[in-house]
């Protein structure tokens, strides 16, 4: 029995090693490529060990020769804006869907779900003309608005099932103690679904940070570009050295990974509380 368990632990560890290598390799390859001189890269002489001593050189080239850091700052504005706006609206809407019965609840719930089906490529043209009319083209705030439309429903689903699990008696007790519905939401519900809020925050943050299609069609000024459009502009051009391009990719990836790892524990528990099931 113990021998069998040891064996299965061994198999598990081996499988985990394999999966970890598969998942980790492209990441490792970004680092490795960023640390290899461009001349070596194009001669097919990329070694398997990154030359870490090049780190500082590579990043100083990135900061001085390209406006990439500025684009990242724009990405940060878009991502945080999307997160904030999505969470505020999603929390309130999720609370209404979880706790109240009202006329039109079904259609409204379907509306939130249906946006998950809408292809961005279909909406990009009508949204372009809408944003032109609203004067929101070339503006980061425009990107926040459009990203929120796609990110907010996901946050809503996570939060709704989390709020479903908050004991209703807590809210009734707060009502007896004199809380208004808005106070109940702030004082009782939000602190109690904090892990799910974190999970929703990470997911909406990624939406804002990664988004490319709307960013590339709505933002024309090079200075207003975001990280994703800036990075994509390197694809297929040869004036920027490849190691610099990959260092940009690395720098663009690191904040997302750090943000994610910091929240990882909360994401798993947040997804458990707001488990996607049913």
């Amino acid at each position: 029995m113990i021998a069998r368990r040891r064996l299965s632990t061994g198999v598990r560890a081996l499988l985990a090693l394999l999966l970890t290598c598969l998942a980790g390799f492209p990441l490792f390859w970004i680092i490795n490529t960023a640390m290899t001189p461009t001349t070596d890269l194009f001669q097919g002489q990329q070694r398997l060990v990154p030359d870490i001593s090049r780190t500082l050189d590579v990043f100083s080239v990135l900061t001085t020769d390209t406006p990439f850091l500025g684009w990242m700052a724009n990405s940060a504005v878009v991502a945080f804006g999307t997160t904030l706006l999505s969470l505020v609206m999603a929390t309130m809407a999720a609370y209404a869907l979880s706790r109240y019965k009202f006329v039109g609840k079904g259609p409204m719930g379907f509306l939130f779900f249906a946006t998950q089906m809408l292809p961005e490529a279909l909406l990009v043209v009508p949204l372009y003309s809408l944003f032109a009319a609203l004067g929101l083209l070339n503006q980061l705030s425009g990107l926040v608005l459009v990203n929120t439309a796609f990110a907010m429903p996901v946050a809503l689903f996570i939060l709704k099932s989390a709020i479903d699990n908050v004991p209703y008696e807590l809210e009734e007790s707060a009502r007896v103690d004199g809380c208004s519905p808005l106070s109940i939401l702030q004082v009782m519900v939000v602190p109690l679904v904090a892990p799910s809020m974190a999970a929703a925050a990470v997911i909406t943050f990624f939406d804002g940070w990664n988004e490319y299609l709307f960013a590339t069609t709505f933002i024309r000024d090079r200075s207003s570009w975001v990280g994703s459009t800036g990075l994509a502009s390197f694809i297929g051009e040869f004036s920027t050295p490849l190691d610099t391009v990959f260092s940009a990719a690395l720098v663009f990836t690191i904040p997302a990974i750090i943000f994610f790892l910091l929240m990882q524990r909360k994401i798993v528990s947040g997804l458990t509380a707001g488990s996607v099931k049913g």
Binding site: L15, Q116, M117, V124, L127, M152, L213
Partner: protein
């Protein structure tokens, strides 16, 4: 005890009061989606009945169902439908299988588990554009590590992104790599919600690990897997960036899914009307799949005697 006449009672009878509160809470989000999703959608629908062109967008004329007639009569559209279905099938099956296996591996202790989990979920956090960049480099014909590996194994070299027989595979592999962690996290969450006493009960009843899986784990897992499959499917239908930036729909259109088709018609051929019609048909496909899902789900619930 006081007994009073029923006339009083009749007067005191009150309807349940109508409350604005839920509408105040949900209103902002609903209006928001109406403005930024429903209005553009209706505008897209309107556009799909016109021959509007990108260069002169105000000169479009209503042409009825001509766009739809054209699409349904063209082989190219059906090819993009098939491409979409193939891409969706492979990414959904691949990510679900890999994600579920990963979740089972990670769910139990082994040395280095925390590190392994951190690495295994990281692809989810990598921005799509960075994913594309590194996979293009890996797939590179002359200097890519994919070819270096196949050559070293004696399998020869391939045009991963240039050979039409490998284009779809390459795109699917990159997509699966990127989306698997989401499946893994959700399945992991579902696994952790299986009550510990259920495991213990089956252990006391002398069940082997296969029946434990079948009787305890699977019932908890299946609803989750079904929802994840649905989400993965409708997300695959509309996934644009990773395909567009990896292959642009090529080589020779083998990765031209419906949304790539929409984008190319709009921005490369500047036919906004036709693009909108294509998008609408794509949306219809998503709706059909979703409807099928809900029918299947309801039937499954009925079978299990669950009133959902």
């Amino acid at each position: 005890m006081t007994v009073t006449t029923s006339a009083r009672t009749q007067r005191a009878t009150r309807r349940r009061r109508f409350s604005w509160t839920p509408y105040l809470f949900i209103g902002l989000a609903v209006l928001y989606l109406l403005l930024f999703a429903v209005v553009p959608l209706l505008k897209g629908l309107d556009l799909s009945f016109t021959n509007t062109r990108l260069l002169n967008p105000t000169a479009g004329k209503y042409i009825g169902f001509d766009n739809y007639d054209h699409l349904l009569g063209s082989g190219a559209f059906f090819k993009s439908v098939v491409t979409t279905l193939v891409y969706t099938a492979f990414t959904v099956v691949g990510s679900l299988a890999l994600g579920t296996v990963s979740a089972f591996v990670i769910n139990r202790f082994f040395p280095g588990r925390i590190l392994a989990r951190a690495v295994m979920v990281m692809p989810w956090a990598v921005p799509t554009v960075a994913v594309v960049l590194v996979f293009r480099w890996i797939y590179n014909d002359s200097t890519g590590v994919a070819n270096a590996a196949t050559a070293a194994l004696g399998l020869g070299e391939r045009g991963w992104l240039t050979d039409p027989s490998y284009g779809m595979l390459s795109v699917v592999l990159a997509t699966v790599w990127k989306v698997t962690p989401f499946v893994m996290l959700v399945v992991l969450a579902a696994l952790q919600s299986v009550p510990e006493d259920l495991y213990e009960a089956t252990k006391i009843d002398g069940a082997d690990s296969y029946s434990t899986f079948k009787l305890v784990v699977l019932p908890f897992l299946l609803p989750t897997l079904r929802v994840v499959a649905l989400l993965m499917t409708i997300w695959s239908f509309r996934r644009f960036e990773i395909i567009w930036l990896l292959t642009g729909g090529g080589p020779v259109d083998v990765t031209t899914t419906i949304v790539i088709d929409v984008y190319r018609q709009a921005f490369n051929n500047s036919q906004l009307g036709l693009a909108a019609a294509t998008g609408m048909l794509g949306l219809l496909l998503s709706l059909i799949v979703t409807a099928v899902y809900f029918v299947v789900e309801q039937r499954a619930n009925k079978q299990n005697g669950v009133n959902a």
